[in-house]
């Protein structure tokens, strides 16, 4: 009797907790919901009635989305395209080059390899502000200031974390598998691409997700490296609009923000499991 009573009390407590958390979650979603709501409102109502749902007066239909497309004298789809191009190419370059380098570092393990490895670890604690001025000048000198060449800069500055994570994983793979492959006549290149790379898959996903999140959201590096009259990524474009605060059309800006976070949320909902795992793996680095 007594135990049954405490059990149902326990269950009731859990239901209450569940409801409380659900309410907290709704509040937690408010900022995103208010972006959705305001992207359908006319400019003047965004500031005065931020939290009201659009009514007959304030409802703007898809006007904001249409207006936003050519906002700031720069087509939005172009900045979205550059963002996608830079994110995909940088991530691919980092994954392929760093996994190759990390395998070599972990297996050859010469003095030089160790020096490079420790330099990579060191680079993880260096904040971007330390190198931003000299890095942007170097990138200018070497003509790395276009969306097609900026992946080289990303590989350079992002190599530290990727090498660190890959080396850690390669060291946990038994070397015997590779030795068997080399006895069967595989050269190092084939061993890497057909034996090692498939085994690296979980780490490739983790590192890939960390890099995608970094590059897609990065503002300062592309802002300093690219010529922003010609090339803008989404964060640069949005910050540029904010620069003209007051005169800016808030409704249209909210429409652009909505468009820019939709791909992120879709990506998140599809790869949630991997994202959470990748983030937890990257956290250890600090």
């Amino acid at each position: 009797m007594n135990t049954a009573g405490s059990l149902s009390a326990e269950r009731r407590r859990k239901t209450v907790m569940s409801i409380v958390l659900a309410l907290v979650c709704i509040v937690y979603m408010m900022p995103v919901l208010s972006v959705v709501v305001n992207s359908f409102k006319e400019n003047t109502y965004v500031k005065t009635d931020t939290f009201a749902l659009p009514d007959e007066d304030s409802f703007a239909g898809l006007d904001n989305f249409e207006k936003g497309m050519t906002f700031g004298n720069y087509p939005f789809w172009k900045s979205a395209g550059y963002s996608a191009l830079i994110t995909i190419s940088s991530t691919a370059l980092i994954l392929i080059c760093c996994s190759m380098g990390a395998w070599y570092i972990a297996r050859v393990d010469s003095k030089l390899c160790r020096i490079i490895y420790y330099l990579c670890v060191f680079s993880m604690v260096v904040p971007f502000q330390m190198v931003m001025y000299t890095l942007s000048k170097t990138a200018d000198t070497l003509k790395l200031n276009t969306p097609w060449t900026i992946p080289i800069v990303y590989l350079g500055f992002g190599a530290g974390l990727a090498i660190f994570m890959f080396v850690g994983f390669v060291k946990s793979i038994p070397i015997e598998i590779e030795e068997a492959a080399s006895i069967d006549g595989c050269g190092p290149v084939r061993t890497f691409f057909s034996v090692v790379l498939p085994m690296l898959k979980p780490t490739l996903i983790s590192v890939g997700i960390l890099e995608i999140m970094w590059v897609w959201n990065d503002y300062l590096l592309p802002y300093l490296v690219l010529d922003i009259n010609d090339y803008r990524t989404i964060p640069i474009h949005i910050q540029y609009l904010k620069g003209s605060y007051g005169t800016v059309d808030l409704g249209a800006t909210m429409a652009l923000i909505l468009l820019s976070i939709i791909p992120v949320i879709v990506f998140y909902l599809i790869c949630q499991k991997y994202i959470i795992k990748g983030v937890a793996a990257g956290a250890v680095k600090g």
Binding site: K14, M17, S18, L21, A22, C25, Y28, P31, V32, S34, V35, V46, K47, T48, C97, M100, G101, Y104, I105, A106, V108, L119, S123, M124, V126, P127, Q129, M130, V131, M132, Y133, T134, L135, K137, T138, L155, G156, F157, A159, K171, S172, I175, S182, G187, P188, M213, W216, N217, Y219, L220, P235, I238, M254, I257, V264, Y268, I276, V279, A283, G286
Partner: protein, 306 residues
């Protein structure tokens, strides 16, 4: 990590495979090393050198010794930014960790819908700093404009506004780390505490928390360094406003944090201050790296204990 030692010693023999790998070093190491040199090593060395120079353009840099450091440390805006950032980092550290731990604790109690809640709490972490800043400045303006003020007019609002923003963004992230820690607490320990008649609070403080100390260390330092390095959110939410003008005519941006202060010194109106800006950047690097090293020592010590 346990495997490291055994693998290192196994490699001492250098089998034929390693020798054949060395022939391919240009392919495996070449791209990474060249890019790493361009994107990190060279800018880093040049940055250290330039912090000791007076320059407008890199090519006419003139060596002047530690003068820039003296000027950086004497700069009132840099001092203000340092204390503001330190206060911000500590405040955000405390709030984020308490809330993240609470949420993680609740979500590991077998409550219905835990997975959905976890998804929601983590989501803001994926939105970039600039976009976050813009979203929240709309929300804060929507609230504050009713009282005839704005987040750009009052530095107290600017401070707490940024705290709210950062909490919203990072609670989910820290929550994930805490959940991983909580799930690793041995079930039989909790069971034993229950049989011994420990209350919920006693179990929490005497069993659970001591067992998740590694997660607590990681989250503490992560939120601390994140606080110190914050840039995008600061730029997008207030951009350092409001401004006060000192008696000597220099301006102080009241909500400007260290990273933004360095950025503004580099690319601000005073083009002769680039050397000072680079010196500030070096000081900033030393601060952040020191935090990283302290963290490493803490986590290492904890690992030994386990």
């Amino acid at each position: 990590m346990k495997n490291n030692k055994s693998n290192f010693s196994a490699l001492k023999k250098k089998p034929a495979k390693i020798r054949s790998m060395r022939k391919w070093s240009w392919l495996f190491m070449g791209p990474v090393v060249v890019c790493f040199a361009i994107g990190f090593i060279w800018p880093f060395i040049q940055g250290i050198y330039l912090s000791l120079c007076k320059f407008r353009l890199i090519k006419d840099a003139e060596f002047i010794g530690f003068g820039n450091y003296g000027r950086a440390l004497a700069d009132p805006s840099f001092n203000r930014a340092f204390w503001y950032t330190a206060l911000f980092a500590i405040a955000s550290l405390i709030i984020i960790n308490i809330l993240a731990f609470t949420v993680a604790y609740l979500l590991t109690q077998g409550i219905k819908g835990s997975n959905l809640f976890r998804t929601v709490f983590f989501m803001p972490n994926l939105i970039g700093g600039i976009v976050l800043g813009y979203i929240w400045s709309m929300i804060f303006d929507g609230i504050l404009s009713r009282y005839g003020t704005s987040i750009l007019e009052n530095s107290t609002f600017g401070f707490w506004g940024l705290i709210i923003l950062v909490c919203w963004q990072q609670i989910g992230y820290m929550m994930i780390i805490y959940i991983a820690g909580l799930q690793a607490v041995p079930e039989d320990m909790l069971e034993a505490a229950k049989i011994d008649g420990a209350s919920k609070w006693q179990t929490l403080f005497k069993v659970t928390i001591p067992n998740i100390m590694p997660s607590i260390t990681i989250c503490t330092f992560l939120s601390l360094t994140n606080g110190f390095k914050l840039f995008d959110q600061n730029l997008a939410l207030t951009g350092g406003l409001p401004i006060t003008i000192l008696s000597d005519g220099s301006q102080i941006k009241q909500t400007e944090m260290l990273a933004l202060n360095i950025f503004n010194t580099f690319y601000g109106q005073n083009t002769s201050a680039t050397g000072v800006a680079q010196a500030k950047a070096v000081l900033f690097f030393i601060l952040v790296a020191a935090l990283g090293l302290i963290q490493l020592r803490f986590t290492r010590r904890k690992e030994v204990q386990q």
